[in-house]
Amino acid sequence: MDQLITNGLSKRYGQKTDALQDVTFSAPSSGIFALIGRNGAGKTTLVRILATELAPTSGSASINGIDVVKEDKKLRERIAIVPQEARTISWMTPKQSTLTYLMWRGFEYSEAKKRAEESLARLKLDKYADTLNRLLSGGTKRKALAAMVLASEADIIFLDEPTTGLDPISRKDFWVILRELAKDRFIFLTTHYLEEAEQLADTLGILGEGRLVAVGTVPSIRGRIRYQYSVKLPANSPVPGISQGEVTTGRNGEVQILTNEDEAFSISKRLSVAGARFSIGPVSLDDIFFQLVGESTHAEQEAATLGNEGGGSG
């Protein structure tokens, strides 16, 4: 029962823009589900549909057996969201923001005040509790938004790109908060930081141009791609011959060979004998993402080209 299930979920804006196309998957609704994708991939549209803000054009979705369209009121009793561009209200303090958010959810003043103070303390924001939001740093403002939803009774939380714009230290601080939140709640987050998804996700979803490219744990997605090992060589290194795999050269001249396990060890043996500098390991989420999303985009471009050719000849 504790599952997030979507079935043929699609969203079309106007006559031409397909933001989501036939998204079908199921995943456990516990821990952290991270949805990654490029800008415009449809991440926010999917979040807004699941959070009952937006109606899908077709298809269905449910969380823990509650239909997001037909039982939206029931679901709203259990969810909370921090939208992508949410900001703390400038003329209020973190304490006032959290207190009023809880009152809007129907908490009595005294209970809301108690919960707000506890939540701010839990996120180590108590020293900023009475500072105007406009005077806080970007990272602290983001934490204040998290404190609002953490203080609520919601057990399903949507966070749309919660760490965008934060510096690396603030981002890592925020990860600690997310792990804390996920102890007793289901967190559905979107990000375009692959490292973030790899660090946090119990389940990962990859969206490419409105279509779901993959969903599962990071190791299970890694198992699905063609090349699971990566050998990296410094710039200007001689590239060894390979029987299987792909060789790419980065902007800094670094060479990367993506290949299977046997070939990777064969290459590493030869490089070791030759005394070359190199590193070897399982492919990173970056590699997985570019393999999967790159393939998906490439396949669509090919299909479009074939479609156009077909139309021309017909």
Binding site: E85, W91, Y101, G106, M148
Partner: protein, 247 residues
Amino acid sequence: MRRSRSSQLVAAILVNAVYEMKNYPINLVNTVLSPLSFLVVIDFVSRGALIGQAIEGGLIMSMFQSGMSLQGDISHLKNDFKLQDMLVSSPASPAAYVVGMAASEIIYNLPALAILIVLGAIYIHPGAFQALELTAALLLMFLTSITIGFMFATLSSDIVQSFAWSRLLTTVFTAITPVYYPITYIPYPFRYLAYLSPTTYVAEIMQNAAGYLQLSGNVLITDWAIISGLAAVLLVVVSRNARWKEV
């Protein structure tokens, strides 16, 4: 969990009135000064002859301004802070949100209203029935402006334009139209143009109640019918067409 509707109403009042008044008092000063500045100018130019009309005009402007402020404030919270998105995905009641926000506008305008009511008691000194008539007309004005404001807010996605519309509509409907002065000052055929504004009907009712204008029974009934009908129609239109969430 049992959810408190009164908490939801109070939340809107805290966010949009109490905390803003407390932390940004300059906005409050601006809200108080707008209706009073026109009053001072009209009183000065008419050498005190139109002080009563100007006080009534200030009350109408204050009420109309509340509705237009609702437009800007809801739009601001929705588009700049994404508050409405946060509340859509929560058990918050749309009705409690709107009523709470409307109440917050009245509370925000209380200092201006209090000054105008005191001035009204001094210079107009209405009887109990007239006071009741003035109050009813002002409440209809508030209802009309709130519905116009809420309709604009749900359609708006740009805060700069929202505030511009808010100022424009307040100026057109309260400063240009015969609100601070009697409609008889406007020559025909321009007088007919004034009747395109809902504030004109409220001003006629209030000026008649205070004895500044002598309306026939038929005209007075027509004024009440038009402003009540308009408020009812707008209320129906808003409740059917205003958008709480995107679809």
